[in-house]
């Protein structure tokens, strides 16, 4: 077992445990903090795959901006801990059962697929995850979607302001 595999298993276990903690913790603040841990673990996976640009963007955008937005909203609402509604036990059980069935079905399908047998993921090599090739592709082949996404941001900003002012 080399270093890459140890790092992969450690980051995977960390991500899955933190994701479960998001669900089971009663306090919404704790859920947000656990979700930030999941995002850091996923950024670690990106670094293992040598997708350095996406690792940094994931930390800045998700862990830095989006989760801070969530924290602000939770603190603005000042939700009482004991007033948080709980679903009935039977509904929770059915939810977990459905999610587990989905996971089992998809894992069984992936295990059977012959096209995926023996395919290897390139770890810590390859240059496509660096800023230079990504920027070149973004500003030559994908320049139109890039500009359209700025219009999307503008419309999202206008929409958020209009919804918030009502």
């Amino acid at each position: 077992m080399n270093t890459l595999e140890i790092l992969f298993y450690a980051l995977s276990a960390f991500a899955v445990v933190s994701a479960v903690m998001v669900l089971v913790s009663k306090n919404p603040i704790h859920s947000v903090l656990c979700l930030i841990l999941v995002f850091f673990a996923i950024s670690g996976h990106y670094i293992l795959l040598n997708a350095q640009f996406l690792a940094i963007v994931n930390i800045i955008v998700y862990a830095g901006a989006i989760m801070v937005l969530f924290l602000f909203v939770i603190m603005l609402m000042n939700i009482k801990l004991d007033s948080e509604p709980q679903k009935k036990m039977i509904i929770k059980f059915i939810g977990v059962l459905s999610g587990g069935s989905l996971l089992t079905l998809l894992v069984a399908l992936v295990k059977q697929t012959s096209q995926l047998q023996g395919k290897q993921v390139l770890m810590k090599e390859g240059t496509i995850g660096l800023i230079h090739p990504l920027g070149k592709a973004l500003f030559t082949d994908y320049v139109l979607p890039f500009e359209i996404s700025s219009v999307l941001f503008l419309s999202a900003m206008v929409g958020a302001v209009i919804i918030g002012k009502k």
């Binding site: 669900l23 795959l49 998700y62 998809l106 918030g164 009502k166």
Partner: protein, 111 residues
Amino acid sequence: MPIQYYIFLCLTLFSIGVVGVLTRRNAIIVFMCIELMLNAVNLLLVAFSKMYHGAALQVSPASTAGIDAQIFVFFIMVVAAAEVSVGLAIIVMMFRNTHSVDINFLNRLKN
């Protein structure tokens, strides 16, 4: 690292997100579980991109195959940021009207 390991990890994270959407009633937690599912898909896209890049490198050493998937992940993050700003504005508005973030109160479309 075989691609199956990455697929299993991402399926696990995605299913945890699905279970969260099905079992929690707090609208903010449901929204966070949707973000978790988006991130699982992002990780899977990057893993597949590196898989195809590794296969293309053996044919020609200067290949940039697989770069499209990483650009897609970038655009998914862009759309997720816009989605979160609008969605949180909707949740704040809902909290102002009903003084709760319980999604079971949002059944006015049913009648």
